[in-house]
Symmetry: C2
Subunit: 120 residues, 2 copies
């Protein structure tokens, strides 16, 4: 079920701490950021932040990788674009819509442009 996935994404972003964390990661770029940094930067206790990052991860909006004893969370641009595409799908009855696409300009892994408004 496609919409279910979208709903999880929207719900994940619909919280002050998570939206702030996600935006910080979006700014951070493909490199991502460590929980300890985000915790300090956003003023969120580590366990609470961990809970919220888990939600974002569960929703597929961020990815994690480990380097030594620290983790690096990074925004998943493709997932974000997918969300936006779903919202704007069919929005203009077939015309006048500029594509909503966002790709990290920094080097990083090349993300393919997300599918757009497949009309029926």
């Amino acid at each position: 079920m496609e919409s279910e996935h979208v709903i999880r994404g929207l719900a994940a972003l619909a919280h002050e701490a998570r939206l702030a964390a996600f935006r910080a990661l979006v700014e951070a770029g493909p490199e991502g950021a460590m929980p300890s940094l985000l915790s300090e930067r956003l003023g969120i206790p580590a366990p609470t932040l961990s809970f919220h990052l888990a939600q974002l991860k569960n929703a597929g909006l961020v990815s994690v990788r480990r380097t030594g004893r620290s983790l690096h969370y990074a925004a998943d641009y493709a997932a974000m674009n997918g969300l936006i595409a779903y919202l704007t799908e069919n929005c203009c009855a077939g015309s006048a819509c500029a594509p909503s696409v966002c790709v990290p300009a920094i080097e990083g892994v090349p993300h393919e442009a997300p599918a757009r408004s497949r009309r029926r």
Copy 2:
């Protein structure tokens, strides 16, 4: 508080019934649709739908107008674009981002294009 408004919008969309209703309204265009129609189309009891439409309205994502004894809810494209703009703000550290804009192609009231990525 800007983010608070965005959070209300995201939370409003992060629900199966509301996302379905909003998308139906997005498809319906500026004309909008009546609750009774949506209720039947989406299979949602009238009181429940009314509750959810109120949430969408409270979040500023839809507008309402009355015609006789029926109401017409319509998607607010500018609000939707504002949401998307907020999410993609700073997403690419300043480059490579196509603008995310959606305007109703049908006649209707002309919506100004939403503000995009005002960098700091």
